[in-house]
Symmetry: C2
Subunit: 80 residues, 2 copies
């Protein structure tokens, strides 16, 4: 079973990487771009057939290690 975890900063927190990229894109002439945000994606392959149990385990991994719940939101999705 493969999970995809999308991690991004909570709304309202500054995203310096996104701001720098926005400036760089506009300097390259891409003037239609109005905003840029960065996030991280983690793909996890897991043994087992119980999707609900695995999903709970992935959420626990996010809280304990993969994401920083203070400043980040995450979404978990089964992708295969």
């Amino acid at each position: 079973m493969r999970f995809r975890i999308d991690i991004r900063r909570k709304e309202g927190l500054s995203d310096p990487e996104g701001l720098t990229t926005l400036t760089a894109l506009q300097n390259l002439g891409y003037s239609a771009v109005t905003d840029t945000h960065f996030g991280r994606t983690i793909y996890l392959d897991m043994d087992g057939d119980d999707a609900a149990a695995a999903s709970e385990e992935v959420e626990s991994m996010c809280r304990r290690l993969l994401a920083n719940p203070v400043i980040e939101d995450f979404d978990i999705e089964v992708v295969g």
Copy 2:
């Protein structure tokens, strides 16, 4: 219009961040995890209504600045 760009290493290339995370998860007791890969996600907000033209522009941004086509694959998706 909002685009989501998923960038990840091409198949077969080593992913040291993923390997380290896999070891850390297994050390924390998550023994069902068999593999871990990292990727980056970039959200771009763009002006304009022509989705096809904007999509081509985003692909050009990826090739010129956002991704490294030598070692990375990317997917572009309209998300809003």
